[in-house]
Symmetry: C4
Subunit: 233 residues, 4 copies
Amino acid sequence: MSKYQRIKQEAFEANMQLPKLGLVLFTFGNVSSADRSLGVFAIKPSGVPYKDLSPEAMVIVDFEGHTIEGDLRPSSDTLTHAVLYKNWVNVNGIVHTHSTYATAWAQSQRDIPIYGTTHADHLTVDIPCASPMDDEMIQGDYEHQTGHQIINCLAARNLSYTDTEMILVGNHAPFTWGKTAEKAVYNSAVLESVAQMAYLTEQIRPDVQRLKSSLIKKHYERKHGPLSYYGQS
Amino acid sequence: MSKYQRIKQEAFEANMQLPKLGLVLFTFGNVSSADRSLGVFAIKPSGVPYKDLSPEAMVIVDFEGHTIEGDLRPSSDTLTHAVLYKNWVNVNGIVHTHSTYATAWAQSQRDIPIYGTTHADHLTVDIPCASPMDDEMIQGDYEHQTGHQIINCLAARNLSYTDTEMILVGNHAPFTWGKTAEKAVYNSAVLESVAQMAYLTEQIRPDVQRLKSSLIKKHYERKHGPLSYYGQS
Amino acid sequence: MSKYQRIKQEAFEANMQLPKLGLVLFTFGNVSSADRSLGVFAIKPSGVPYKDLSPEAMVIVDFEGHTIEGDLRPSSDTLTHAVLYKNWVNVNGIVHTHSTYATAWAQSQRDIPIYGTTHADHLTVDIPCASPMDDEMIQGDYEHQTGHQIINCLAARNLSYTDTEMILVGNHAPFTWGKTAEKAVYNSAVLESVAQMAYLTEQIRPDVQRLKSSLIKKHYERKHGPLSYYGQS
Amino acid sequence: MSKYQRIKQEAFEANMQLPKLGLVLFTFGNVSSADRSLGVFAIKPSGVPYKDLSPEAMVIVDFEGHTIEGDLRPSSDTLTHAVLYKNWVNVNGIVHTHSTYATAWAQSQRDIPIYGTTHADHLTVDIPCASPMDDEMIQGDYEHQTGHQIINCLAARNLSYTDTEMILVGNHAPFTWGKTAEKAVYNSAVLESVAQMAYLTEQIRPDVQRLKSSLIKKHYERKHGPLSYYGQS
C-alpha cells in the first residue's frame, strides 16, 4: 500500500462531497489533502468525472508542484494549491469550486458583507474578494500567481489564514481551506450558503447595514477560541 | 427504558425532518420536545451531524437549562429553548434553523408582510422580526437573553404565542414553536415558503399591498378556531 | 369494486404527481377527476399528507358539492371544483396548488405577460390574474364564490376555458384544469415554469416586451388545432 | 441490428441526460446524434415522455429532413437540426432545451455578457442571442428558418460554430451543439449555469464590467487549442 494512502483516501472522499453538496457541475472543482510529514498533497486528476474517481486516481504532488506519484495529470489548479501549502503551514486541505452564488459575487468583484450570524459563526470580517491580477501575471505562471494573489490579498487586509479560511478570486471563483480537507469542503458549503443569503438580503433591503461588532464577536467566540461552547469536545 | 423515551424519540424524529425539508445545512438547526408532566425537554446535542443522531443521543434539560440526562453537551441554543418553555406553558416543541429565505429576511431586519393566503392560512399578522439586542445583553447571558428578546417582541406587539408561532430574530435567524415538536417543524417549513414567496412578490411588484383584512380573516378561520373546516377531525 | 374506481385511481395518481413535480409543500394542493356520465368527481380528502393517500381515500362529490361516497371530509376547496365542473362541461380534471412562483405572481395581483415561446406553446394570452373578491363574497360562500370569480374573470376577458386552462386567483394562488386530471397537473407544472421564467425575464430586462403575435400564433398552432404537428397522433 | 444503432444509442443516452441535469420539464427538449458517413442523424420522437424512450424509438432523418427509419414522428424541431448538420460539417450532436435561466435571457433578447472564468473556460465572447425572425419567415418554413436564423446570427458576428457552440434564439430558447451529442449536452448544462451566474452577477452589481481580454484568453487557452493543459490526453 502506498505511503500516501491516507491522503489519497481523504482527498477522494472530500472530492466526492462536492457534487453531493451541490457545489460543482461536471468537473468544475477540486480538493486536495496534504501530509505535512511527507511534504506532499493528494489532488484530483484534471477533468476526470466524479463518478470515475477512486482513491488510486488521486495524484501526489510536492509543495513545489512536482508530481511525485500517479499516472494522471493533476488538476490544472495544482500550482495554486502548492503555493498555498508552501506558505501556510497549518493548512492541510484546500478546495476550489465554481459554486453558483459565491462565483456570482466573485464575478461582481465584491467582498461579501457580514450581514448575519451565519456569517459571524465562521468569520468576523467580510469575505474578501481579491482583485484580478495584472496582465503580466496572467500571461506568466497563472496558477502559481493565483496562489500569491490569494496570499497577498489576505496580507493587504491584515487577515490571518487561520481565521479567514475562504476567499473569492475576482472574476473567477472561490477558494477555501482548513486544517483538513473535510474542513475545507465544509467551508466551501458555508461560503455558498452565506453568499446566497447575502445576495437575498440586499434584494430584500437594499440599504441593509452590516452586523454590529458585539454580535459578530459573540457568535464567533461561541464557536472558536478558548471560550467556545459549540459542539462536543 | 428512560422515562424520557417519548420526548427523545419525538425530538429525534423532528430533528431528522430538518435536512429532509431542506431547512438546514450541516448542523445549523435544532429541535426540542418538552414533557410538561416531567418538567423537561429533549434537545439535539451540539454540533452532531444529523446522520449520527439517534433518540439516545438527545439531551434531557429542565426549564432552567440544567442538563438532567445525557452524555453529550446540548445545543448551544438550549437556554433560549428553556426560557421559552418556562414562559409559554402551552408550547411543547421549538425549532431553530438558518433556513435561507427566512434568514435573509432576519438579516434585513424586516417583518415579513402578509401578502397572500398561504401566509393567512397560518397567521393573521406580519411575521415579526425582533430587533437585535443591546450590547450588554449580547455580552451577558446571550442565549437566555435571546429567549427574552423573543418574548418581549411578541409582548410589545400584543401578539399571543399561541396565535403567532414563528419569529425572526434580527440579524440572526428564525425560531418557530407549537403544541408539538412536529408542529414546530411544520411551522419552520411554512415560514421558509412564505419568506420565499414574499421576497418574490416584492421583486415582481415593488409597490405590492398587504392582503385585505376580510381575506386574512377568512383564510385563517378556515384552518383555525371553532368554525374551521380544514383537515379531518 | 366501486363504480367510481376509475376516477378515484386517476385522482389519486394525479395528486401524487404534485409533490413529485415540486408543486406542493405538505398538503397545500389538491387534484380532482370527474366522471361526466355519473355526474361526480373524485377529490383529495382535506389535510391528509400525500404519503397517507390511497385511491380509496378519495372522496366522491357531485357537481353541487354534496359528498356521495367516502369516509373523509373532502378538500376545503371542493366547492370551487364543483362550480367549475358544473359550468365547464369539457373539463374533467382540476388542480389547485400554492406553487412558489405562480403564487408570487398571484400575490402581486399581476397577469403573467407572454414573454416567450414556452408560454405560447400553451396559450396565446397573458395568464390572467383574477381580482380579489368583494368583502361580501368573501364572507359568504367563499369557495363557491372562488369558482365564480374564476369563471367571471375569463368571461370579462373573452377567454374560453378550453383555450386558457390556467388562472391566478389574486392574493391567493393558481388553479389549472384540462380534459383529464393528468392534463390539469401538466398545466400546473407548465404554469410554474412559465411564472419563474417571466419573473427572471423582467429581472434581466425590466423593459422587456411581449412576444409578437406572429410568433405566438406559430408556436400555439404547432401544438394545437387542425394544423398541429407536435407529438404522436 | 440497424446500421444506425450507434447513433440511436448515443441519441438515446444523450436525451436521457437532459432530465437528469435538470434542463427539461416534461418533453421540452431534444437531442440528436449524427453519423456523417451515412449522412443521417438520430433524433428524439416528438412529445414522447423521457421515461418511455428507448434507443429503438429514435427516428433516423437525413440532412434534408426526410425520415429514413422509424415508426414515430421526429421532434418538431427536426428541420432546425437538419439545416445545422447540413451546413456545419464538424457538428455531430445538437441539443435544444427550454432550460430556465438560458430561456429567460432568450426571452429578454439579450446576449449573455462574459462576466467570469466559468464562461471564458468555454467561449471567448458573449453568448449570442439571435434576433427574432421576420413575420414572413415565421409564417413560412419556421423550423427550417430557425436553422438559418442561427447560422446567420453567427455569420453576422464573425463567429465560428467550432468556437461558439451555443446560442439563444430570441424570444424562444437555447440551442447548443458539439463534436458529439454528449458534448452538446455538456454545453447545454454549461450554458444554463453561466446564464444563472450572469443573472446573479448583474443583480449583485448592476454596473458590473466584462472580463478583461487577458483573462478571457488565459482561461480559454487552458482548455482549448495546442497549449491546453486541462484534462487527460
